[in-house]
């Protein structure tokens, strides 16, 4: 039996007629790093607010360690929260901010000092403990917020786009830092983001949200390689989509007749019967380009553009009735626009979903 730390059971949140979260069922495993990923307005913050107790679920139940917590006020939930804008207390010093949760729990003076120091050391801010938040950079404020949310050793830490306001470099550094802290402290972290690469980098599992519903919840690898829906396929990374229908099966592979003409051989998914309309998805980096047509899965294309992007080469293609994108090694030969070539990919690199 899996040790569920948090369970949301049929949780719904409505604002007037608007269903922001719709009958959500979600189990969060103890010690896991779960990202809630979705476009703006998909209800991620709302879920976090309900977990933290800042908002009430309209319907449904939230359990922590098997106990229903719907009616427990925020201040007794013992969850650390890191806000996007950090929400540091402007009238307190860094040390006072970090000491606040301990003071609220009636911890003794000496122990507070020790634990605050340890927490500040952990985020490398010990030198700035007497500053006020206004005198800190964004990244430093972020780390104070983190220290404050961790210092009272909550079992769960909720983070709402905590890195959104940082520049790219600092953000990537913090991503690794937080991941490292997570591993070291064995925390359960629920992390809201709308940045897919951030989610892929940090998470044990990712829940992809769309309009208040979970489209897919799985490991980063599964989400990326085997997206469950068109929405996930398009939202996480870039992908080529080709519409067609299952024409038959052959040697453990499925045959797809594309609407644009041509046949594809793809990895079979037994649940799709012949005649079923499907979408074949291929990631750009799995697309091979060659002058001569390949034996299977060969699509004649014309190069429309070839863009050097530093670490790779992005080649835009116009196939029969649809556009494709390929991502090639930066050292690969550049194709001049207008060149007539062929795109191809291995059957196991093509993932079939329903449209």
């Amino acid at each position: 039996m899996v040790d569920y730390h948090i369970r949301l059971d049929g949780v719904t949140k409505t604002f007037g007629a608007l269903r922001v979260v719709d009958n959500l069922r979600l189990d969060i495993v103890r010690g896991e790093f779960l990202s809630l990923l979705g476009p703006s307005g998909s209800g991620k913050t709302t879920i976090l607010m309900m977990l933290a107790g800042f908002q009430d679920a309209t319907e449904g139940t939230i359990y922590v360690d098997g106990h229903m917590i719907n009616d427990i006020p925020s201040h007794r939930r013992n969850m650390g929260v890191v806000f996007q804008s950090y929400a540091l207390f402007p009238h307190m010093t860094v040390a006072q901010n970090v000491a606040f949760p301990l003071k609220m729990r009636g911890v003794g003076r000496a122990e507070i000092d020790a634990r605050v120091n340890r927490a500040l050391d952990m985020v490398q801010l010990a030198a700035l403990s007497e500053r006020r938040p206004a005198q800190l950079s964004g990244g430093q404020q972020q780390r104070v917020a983190l220290a404050r949310a961790l210092v009272f050793e909550p079992g769960v830490v909720l983070m709402d786009e905590p890195l959104g306001a940082l520049d790219k470099q600092l953000r990537e550094q913090m991503q690794l830092d937080i991941r490292e802290l997570h591993g070291r402290l064995g925390l359960t972290i629920v992390f809201v983001t709308h940045d897919q690469s951030e989610a892929l980098t940090m998470s044990d599992r990712i829940a992809v949200f769309n309009k208040g519903l979970i489209e897919q919840i799985d490991t980063p690898r599964m989400i990326y390689d085997h997206p469950a829906t068109r929405f996930v396929a398009e939202f996480i990374g870039e992908t080529n989509l080709m519409e067609g229908e299952i024409a038959g099966r052959e040697g453990g592979e499925a045959l797809i007749r594309l609407d644009s003409g041509g046949m594809l051989r793809v990895r079979d998914r037994a649940e799709f019967d012949a005649g079923r309309r499907v979408l074949a998805t291929v990631r750009p980096e799995k697309v091979e380009l060659s002058e001569a047509p390949a034996a299977i899965n060969s699509i004649p294309v014309a190069v429309t553009d070839s863009i050097y992007q530093g670490d790779h080469l992005r080649v835009q293609l116009q196939g029969p009735g649809q556009r494709l994108v390929a991502r090639r090694d930066r050292r690969a030969a550049e194709w001049t626009p207008g060149a007539k070539i062929n795109a191809t990919f291995a059957p196991e690199d093509c993932w079939v979903i329903v449209p």
């Binding site: 933290a52 107790g53 800042f54 006020p73 925020s74 201040h75 007794r76 939930r77 013992n78 969850m79 650390g80 929260v81 806000f83 804008s85 929400a87 540091l88 207390f89 402007p90 009238h91 606040f100 949760p101 609220m104 729990r105 006020r132 206004a134 404050r148 949310a149 009272f152």
Partner: protein, 260 residues
């Protein structure tokens, strides 16, 4: 060019019109003359002495301070509590209360004076400190509410959520987060309440007995019959007090904006 000149002349004249009265009254506080007129024959502190030694003036200063302090405390406590409560939207209650709490600022003082005089006769509050403090509080409330509400509104509500998530209950959040952050607004409200009380005359005429004669009321009476330079000395105290209070508020604000 001509336009610029006209603007400049108008600006100077208007500033003079606004400030001249405040300027001319101050030197007269130090006149040695019997009369409230220029030129000043020689400077003396006799009118301040009069202010602090004659029982009518001295008592009126004491009364002003007692009543002002009472009003400040009562109005600030009631106003802050209500401003906190008014942040929550209560159906059918919030909107009308918002209006009613501001109305004392609008209703003419004489009208309120008549009503309160009749009420006080019934309740036996006429000619009592409590009665005057209550009356001053009524008209000070709108100013307190507005300044506190403004500062509460300017506050990031996520700070309170953060406090809750860190284990602070409603009372602790109020004490450690909300009130400290609203402090500049509370301070402003308190000072305004004090200023209103200090300056109030009309309600005093209706409700106070000789025992509660305030400095403003005494100035009013003196202006009416025996125009003595003691008025200028009292005015000097008023202005000095105002400047002092303003500095106090600015200081409090500075301290807290420095904290931001």
């Amino acid at each position: 060019m001509a336009g610029k000149l006209i603007s400049a002349v108008f600006g100077v004249l208007a500033v003079c019109f606004l400030l001249l009265p405040l300027v001319v009254i101050l030197p007269l506080a130090f006149t040695s003359s019997q009369f409230l007129i220029y030129p000043i024959p020689s400077f003396s502190l006799r009118w301040f002495e009069e202010l602090f030694t004659t029982p009518v003036w001295r008592d009126s200063i004491v009364n002003s301070l007692i009543i002002g302090a009472g009003t400040t405390i009562l109005a600030t406590v009631l106003g802050v509590l209500a401003a906190l409560g008014l942040r929550e939207k209560l159906n059918f209650i919030s909107a009308p209360l918002n209006t009613v709490f501001l109305l004392p600022m609008v209703v003419p003082a004489v009208v309120l004076g008549v009503g309160m005089q009749i009420l006080y006769a019934k309740l036996g509050l006429s000619s009592s400190y409590a009665g005057i403090i209550i009356a001053h509080t009524v008209i000070a409330i709108p100013l307190v509410i507005v300044s506190v509400a403004n500062s509460l509104q300017g506050m990031d509500t996520r700070l309170e959520l953060a406090a809750a998530s860190l284990g602070a209950g409603p009372a602790a959040t109020l004490r450690h987060v909300t009130l400290p952050l609203a402090f500049p607004g509370i301070m402003t409200g308190a000072v305004l309440a004090f200023a209103v009380s200090l300056d109030e005359v009309v309600l005093n005429i209706f409700l106070a007995g000789p025992g509660q004669r305030t400095l403003a009321r005494q100035m009013f009476a003196t202006l009416r019959d025996s125009i003595s330079p003691a008025i200028a000395a009292a005015a000097f105290l008023f202005i000095a007090g105002t400047v002092l209070l303003t500095l106090l508020v600015l200081l409090a604000r500075r301290r807290f904006s420095g904290a931001r």
